[in-house]
Symmetry: C2
Subunit: 359 residues, 2 copies
């Protein structure tokens, strides 16, 4: 049924629908369900240690013979900056006091290594069909090793310039992440979110600029969006927010509630949660601190000082300090199992292709 089979052929999947790897919100269970339904399930490995990665990939390989994707971050490691950390903690101090968190409340250190030697060795060993990166690519020697074991390499681009950069470095497919998308912007060659295009404008310009298949992401939550993505020239779609309302999703009840009542104008791109721009529901923190400011320390360390606040507020039923990541089409979310969601998306897309052709 797919009008463009390049991604289907490249990945060896039945349907060119990629479940977005959403670090912290997804584990192997969702990936397996998506793979078994014919899509490409993804395991977000960025926040996992080596043992957790091996466990997650192992579960997928035991439970499905279908291809799957392992996803990693390629951010610049956070530079330690005690002064900025202290300023950030001080900025949050009124909230600490409001929630009865004393000055002696331990502030956890939150840091993540980018894709490196250890993760690469696991990939070489376990060989997922697809390895996707966010925030750019790892250094060339690591990338060569991933390619050498036969993994297809995918990465997100927020601009045409980033897409060209990725193609020059040998990506097999490129995700064009429009500004509607929930979660972290993949941006790595620019720092200005105001320049980034919506999916409708970005996808055809990326398609025109590169030879490899393009995966549309951002604002796609049902068969209408999938059909639209193919009309724009995409060879597949990556769907994130729509997967967060499935029972397989690991998000909190507060997050699930926000998704179930979502409207089109409730999300905002902010760096207040982690230090990097990410789209999610607007919260008190974002209103007070500002959406994009210099206040938060480097990604992902900003979330350290927020964690005690987030935990305390959540225990009192408030998401004021939580990052409820979601895209602008969250209002289209349906509650269904991840496998059933893929089947629904496929049949809805088929219906749209049929409807558009009846004319």
């Amino acid at each position: 049924m797919w009008p463009d089979r390049r991604l289907v052929d490249l990945f060896g999947v039945t349907h060119p629908i990629i479940q977005a790897p959403m670090a912290g919100s997804v584990d192997a269970t969702m990936a397996v369900a998506v793979c078994e339904a014919g899509g490409l399930g993804s395991l977000p490995c960025a926040t996992l240690n080596g043992d957790q990665m091996r466990a997650g990939i192992g579960i997928i390989q035991q439970q499905t013979t279908q291809p799957f994707n392992a996803n990693f971050f390629c951010h610049d490691p956070a530079k330690p900056d005690a002064a900025q950390d202290a300023q950030w903690r001080a900025r949050l101090d009124p909230y600490y006091k409001e929630f009865g968190l004393g000055d002696d409340t331990p502030v956890p250190t939150v840091d993540l290594p980018p894709f490196g030697e250890d993760a690469c060795a696991i990939i070489e060993d376990l060989k997922p069909a697809v390895v996707s990166f966010h925030f750019g690519l790892p250094e060339q020697s690591l990338l060569d090793r991933v390619r050498a074991v036969g993994c297809k390499i995918v990465c997100s681009a927020n601009t045409v310039r980033e897409a060209r950069w990725l193609e020059e470095r040998g990506c097999h497919a490129i995700i064009a992440q429009g500004s509607e998308a929930g979660g972290h912007r993949g941006m790595f060659l620019s720092e200005d979110i105001t320049e980034q295009a919506g999916t409708m404008a970005l996808v055809p310009q990326v398609v025109d600029a590169v030879q490899v298949p393009v995966i549309a992401a951002g604002g796609i939550a049902d068969g209408r969006g999938i059909a639209a993505a193919f009309a724009l020239g995409a060879s597949g779609v990556q769907i994130g927010t729509a997967c967060l309302s499935t029972p397989e999703s690991l998000v909190s009840d507060l997050h699930r509630d926000a998704l179930s009542g979502a409207e089109d104008d409730q999300t905002v791109i902010t760096n207040a949660w982690t230090g990097r721009p990410a789209r999610g529901f607007r919260t008190q923190l974002v209103n007070d601190v500002g959406a994009i400011t210099d206040a938060p320390p480097d990604f992902p360390t900003a979330s350290g000082a927020l964690r005690p606040l987030k935990n305390k507020a959540e225990s009192e039923g408030s998401a004021a300090f939580s990052s409820l990541l979601a895209g602008q089409a969250a209002g289209l979310n349906r509650v269904a199992g991840a496998g059933a969601l893929v089947s629904m998306l496929v049949s809805e897309a088929a219906e749209q292709f049929e409807r558009l052709s009846r004319s």
Copy 2:
């Protein structure tokens, strides 16, 4: 060929492609060309006085028997604020000095009345098939008069909430203006551009929220975008930026050059040019003043103090103070006559419908 004929039937056009009314950049010539090619040509009346409106509409009615659209603004009139005007002039003073404009340079008063009694009387007299509004609707008594003479009423919505508001007041069709769109945001119930969704996310949510036909706008510049809009559930498209590269367009050579070299990440939404948020190519003014700030006086008076600067800079080949309005898909622009452009868009869309159905 159109998979949804509701707008074709409502307007009595051959093709559900609306040429966006772009005040200052379009006159009757383009509208006639678009109408004769089967689309809906639009005359931007917001910046015209009564005689100019009558002349423009007269030319269209003499040169085509096809339906056309007359467009008006429904902004709140600017509140005189001498202090803010003086601050704005002072903010621009370094540029006045740089361009050799003395303190005695006259600052023109730029103001525009919203749609009112005079314009309404002309509409009642000349009865265009379609009347479209931007920045909300006129007061109910005026709207009733427009409806009473048989004009179809259309208005832009930037959010689902605005779309519902417009439907409740009797709009016959609603333009869902995604964040990709060039020119002024139509926003009238909210003031925060960061909340506004991209076309891919906005259109299906508006389609689900209202009964009337929805016209997709923002990031649509070729047949791929048109087919995508129909996939999302739209009954038609409004195309602006793509029309600016036609010979019928009135834009400056500087503007035309910017369009011909456009890339996806060169535009920004700013209120620096007029006092209301509008998308166009990023310029020195935007970089220096900031994209969205409290500095500019009320729409459209902010452009008064800019005008001498703009004129002087343009005479020296610089667009640093010009509002080169454009959307995020300007990179897809082709140079063709307005009528030929419509024909090209129709055949490209047909090709996409055919391609999507072959699967």
